[in-house]
């Protein structure tokens, strides 16, 4: 596909052609992501609605399918109010600072066998670096709003993100030890085989820590003290309206999809098929044979499952108290990851476990 694009755009001078090819890969991904975000908001309201024995949105379009578009149009035509004593520049830049890392991280995501927009060597580090940048949007939004509530939200979220980033980083250390590489494509490759050879099994504690920390990193319920509508109104984005608010919203949901995708790639085999094991041999001759092949389909299915877990968590658990969040991050997750890294190291040295060939 890339070779074809390169041929097609051959008439352009070299630097322009390279730029055009890159943009041609980025644009579809971003458009699909934004559409996913739009429908994720709809699905969230539907899923939580049914979990709470309600119907959820059902007025706009058939079964409420056009609800996201109604929301978007409403947000786009609303006025962006800048508070009078706010720091105007940072107030308007903050939403952008939160959306850019959420989208840029997708560059290294292995979407299907042998393809990622940027197949870079230190992909895992790149992800860590970029997710750690998303905190600036929140902090600056809270500070620039010149509002006590927003500032409290920013403080909470900054402390929370710093705490959970460490646990996430250690969980990723475990993944890179098992995969023997920092490249996400190679890590996915290392999980080939049925669902029993994916990393969730040998790295189960790290998987739990990573996913829960991911929920905390994205400031989602039950870790949403940064918004905490019952305590501090809406936290860091209390002063935002219209498009500026919509961008924060977009960033939060894009981050959710990202965490779901990364969990799928690092612990659930990415684009590998759930049915790849020898148990499902009988599918080979049937029209369903393609389900045994690794494909984008499987990555999407896994992302959808983890997104559902996000919504499920939100509908199930009450909000954590702030000190409990800190305790969970520092005193539970970090020791768990450290212990499991030690265990993994011993297993690698002793040549037991699925990674004895790699490592």
């Amino acid at each position: 596909m890339i070779a074809w694009l390169n041929n097609f755009l051959g008439f352009l001078p070299d630097p322009l052609r390279i730029l055009a090819v890159i943009v041609a890969q980025i644009l579809p991904l971003v458009i699909v992501l934004i559409l996913c975000v739009a429908f994720l908001t709809y699905i969230e309201r539907k899923v939580i609605g049914y979990m709470q024995n309600r119907i959820g949105p059902n007025r706009v379009g058939p079964r409420g399918w056009f609800q996201p578009f109604a929301d978007v149009i409403k947000l786009l035509v609303k006025e962006v109010v800048v508070p009078s004593r706010a720091n105007r520049f940072l107030f308007l830049v903050a939403p952008l600072l939160s959306i850019v890392p959420a989208l840029a991280t997708w560059a290294v995501m292995p979407l299907f066998p042998g393809y990622a927009i940027a197949d870079i060597d230190a992909g895992l580090l790149y992800i860590l670096a970029l997710t750690s940048l998303s905190i600036y949007g929140v902090i600056l939004a809270g500070w620039a709003s010149n509002s006590k509530y927003a500032f409290l939200g920013a403080m909470r979220s900054a402390a929370q993100m710093v705490a959970y980033e460490i646990a996430m980083g250690f969980a990723l250390v475990g993944v890179l030890m098992a995969g023997g590489s920092l490249n996400l494509g190679v890590i996915t490759e290392a999980q080939s085989g049925g669902f029993l050879s994916w990393f969730w099994l040998p790295l189960f504690p790290l998987f739990l820590v990573y996913f829960i920390s991911g929920v905390a990193e994205t400031n989602r319920a039950p870790f949403d003290v940064a918004e905490g509508e019952s305590e501090i109104v809406a936290g860091f984005h209390v002063e935002y309206s219209g498009v500026a608010f919509a961008i924060f919203f977009l960033a939060e949901y894009a981050n959710m999809i990202l965490i779901a995708g990364l969990t799928a790639v690092m612990f659930f085999g990415g684009w590998h098929s759930f049915l790849a094991g020898s148990w499902f041999m009988f599918l080979d001759g049937t029209p369903l044979w393609f389900l045994r092949q690794p494909s984008l389909l499987w990555l999407c299915a896994k992302i959808a499952f983890f997104l559902f877990c996000f919504l499920w968590l939100r509908a199930t658990f009450p909000r954590y108290r702030y000190d409990q969040i800190m305790r969970l991050g520092w005193k539970v997750f970090i020791p768990v990851t450290l212990v499991w890294i030690m265990v993994e190291g011993v297993m690698i040295v002793a040549q037991v476990g699925p990674w004895s060939s790699g490592g």
Binding site: P15, N87, L128, A129, Y136, I139
Partner: protein, 200 residues
Amino acid sequence: MITLLIFGVLALVLVSAALGVIVSRNPVYAAMWLVLSFVTSAVLWLLIEAEFLAIVLVLVYVGAVMVLFLFVVMMLDVDVAATREGFTRYAPAGTVVAAVIVAELLSVLWLRGSGLPIAQPLASQPAGHSNTREIGLALYGSHVFEFELAAFLLLLAIVAAIMLTHRQRPGLKVQDIAAQVRVRREDRVRIVKMDAERDP
């Protein structure tokens, strides 16, 4: 050619961001300028194919250190006038320091022209060369002792810093979460068996 152009633009951005750090009056702006200069120098490192160092620079300095900086700076109510008070008094000392730094930079430029091995341009590596793997091998192979020593020192520093700032305030009411989790029904409720009421 293009590389040179990119380098020029980035160098310009880097220098102006560094200037922004020292001339901006608002401390939050100064911190953001510093973030910009870190990111720009990371990109400069990418240009010389040091991608591991570049990403780690962003991860450690922008992702962690500067967040804490910003945290502190936002909570301080910095009085701009007070910080400018000693400017004329410290200006001579500042000039001396600046002159020394400029002299050092010039001496690096002179070294470049002198043909010493330090002046060799970095060899560009073939595609597929893993910068990260090389650094890992160097750190955990030939330099493992120094590396572990540094790690131990850092751990010591962490423990010392926590010990210095950790204090037990008397009369502070905190929950003991472990005790809360351990609590059993028998500690809280007592089921009393009573006979049903009878007429006397």
